[in-house]
Symmetry: C2
Subunit: 318 residues, 2 copies
């Protein structure tokens, strides 16, 4: 069986673009850009929890990095460097080859250098840490939302949750809907360009990994504000629109995670600039409500009446 | 059961000292010191592989950070920021409390900020990533060793391997020896001050995590040089000295990992400066051999005859 060092060399050593010293020493070395702050985030993905053990390793390689790129997007940071730690039940070369291909494909798309990591034997576990740069003082924090800000969401919500619900047999989808929704679950597209464009425009941002209501609530809590969200304004997945009378479908929309769209707030005076970003990126951006003073999140129906919200989010130990 | 967010708040949110934004947003924010390079390293520890599932969580908290601090030491970097990702089979609060205590105790000792992380449910897995700073161009790389450099080792070697061999019943130790060796295995002391002091003096460095011969070989390979190591000069653990005729004892000395001492090379002209550092830090530093041109590592006995080396290191998939 090839050694750890062989595996690292074979699959995880690629030329870097903006790194002084990459994989192969006690630490990597990099030179941060003067005047920039460093944004640092990490995500751990566990088999049976965040993915199925038999999932396509190539898609898993994509997703492991995509969810971290999404955190950079939510800060308005430009992703630059990443480390990858892997615990593997065995040194399955086919799996490693596929995983590395998926990982490096998206790394190249976003010009991110893999600078180090660790490989060990154990129950399948992927831990990625990412570092990005953002102009000093300009990062999009959760705590910046202000009363009268508009609340925005990118893309459409619910595709990933629908795909997962289908795989778990909680919802039945037509084959064409499955085919359309699965990529959102397996190969999400991080909104990096959107995050960068929102620097200086948005007051706050978060990525939707735990579900819209849960993630928006994090903004409200961090900012000490309340929100009114118009349910009919929500950009639901086209596969959800016709079935929003079903509780399970509403849950996908409001509390489904894993879409990795951005939720952000910006003053109404910047409305046109946000719409211009939408056109430039050919990415739907939808105003779904307003930040208010006070506390709590009110979901309003078409008549302006408050709706009951069910499951508010996704907790890893619940 | 408390939620993930509650757990993070309760056990892993502490004031930071040199961080703009710590735990609680999509990413942490920090401002690198102008003129410094960033050294980045990560280690993943798996139950049953790097520690026993029943190990004292407090000591595990210490060790998870210590092994990463040791990587900073090996680069000559000053550790500054760390992230921690945990997969836990269940939210065992006693375990988390102990782990956090051990982790923050050593974090405080070395003035390292915990700036973020992830908590999830899964087979016990600890992944730590550390970032440190080193003056631009001055990091201690593995690739800098030059012919005629002296090869040095800090502290004593073999205590941790002896303790492990005893726990695994491969070697029998007297109770007082067990008591003296176990701390090396469970609560190793990273040689951070030594690494910092060697900047500008040493040509190359590595920390001894996989065993002296294996780790020194990494320096030789990266630097394209050979080495002669004098076996009688090796600073063996006092519990090994009397039994170096035993193969198992020699293996602890030459191929035992986990001591987290530094192995480094420096030109003979800096010999006195290295000795002065030893006195200042009250840490034994021992010259064990010389770098030569060519390839390979020769181990010499008291008569200058080449000795056979058995197991050269520790491979995570071997």
């Amino acid at each position: 069986m090839p050694s750890e060092f062989d595996l690292i060399r074979r699959y995880f050593t690629r030329p870097t673009r903006h790194t002084l010293l990459g994989v192969g020493d006690d630490a990597a070395l990099l030179r941060p850009t003067p005047g920039m702050e460093l944004a640092v985030s990490t995500d751990m993905l566990v088999a049976g929890k965040h993915f199925f053990p038999g999932d396509d390793p190539r898609k898993l390689g994509h997703k492991a990095l995509a969810v971290n790129l999404s955190d950079m997007a939510a800060m308005g940071a430009t992703p630059r460097w990443v480390t990858l730690s892997l615990a593997l039940p065995d040194a399955d070369e086919d799996w490693l080859k596929g995983f590395a291909e998926g990982f490096f494909e998206i790394a190249q798309t976003y010009s991110v250098d893999l600078i180090g990591g660790d490989t060990t034997c154990g129950p399948l576990n992927l831990c990625v840490q990412i570092m990005g740069e953002v102009p000093a003082g300009m990062a999009l924090r959760r705590s910046g939302a202000k009363p009268d800000d508009e609340i925005w969401v990118s893309g459409h919500l619910g595709d990933a949750a629908l795909a997962l619900a289908h795989l778990q047999r909680r919802i039945e989808l037509a084959p064409e809907a499955v085919a359309a929704c699965l990529p959102a679950l397996h190969t999400p597209v991080p909104r990096v360009a959107l995050g960068e464009a929102l620097v200086g425009i948005a007051h706050s941002a978060i990525d939707i990994s735990d579900g819209l209501l849960a993630d928006l609530s994090h903004i409200l809590e961090a900012s000490g504000v309340a929100a009114e969200v118009r349910f009919p304004a929500l950009p639901a997945s086209i596969f959800l629109v016709a079935r929003l009378h079903e509780e399970a479908a509403r849950t996908c929309l409001l509390a489904g995670g894993d879409d990795y769209e951005l939720c952000f707030t910006a003053p109404p005076s910047r409305h046109e600039e946000v719409m211009a970003i939408s056109r430039e990126l050919t990415l739907p951006l939808t105003a779904i409500g307003m930040i208010r003073s006070g506390t709590g999140l009110r979901l309003l129906d078409a008549a302006g009446q408050e709706m009951k919200t069910g499951a508010m989010g996704f907790d890893h130990f619940a």
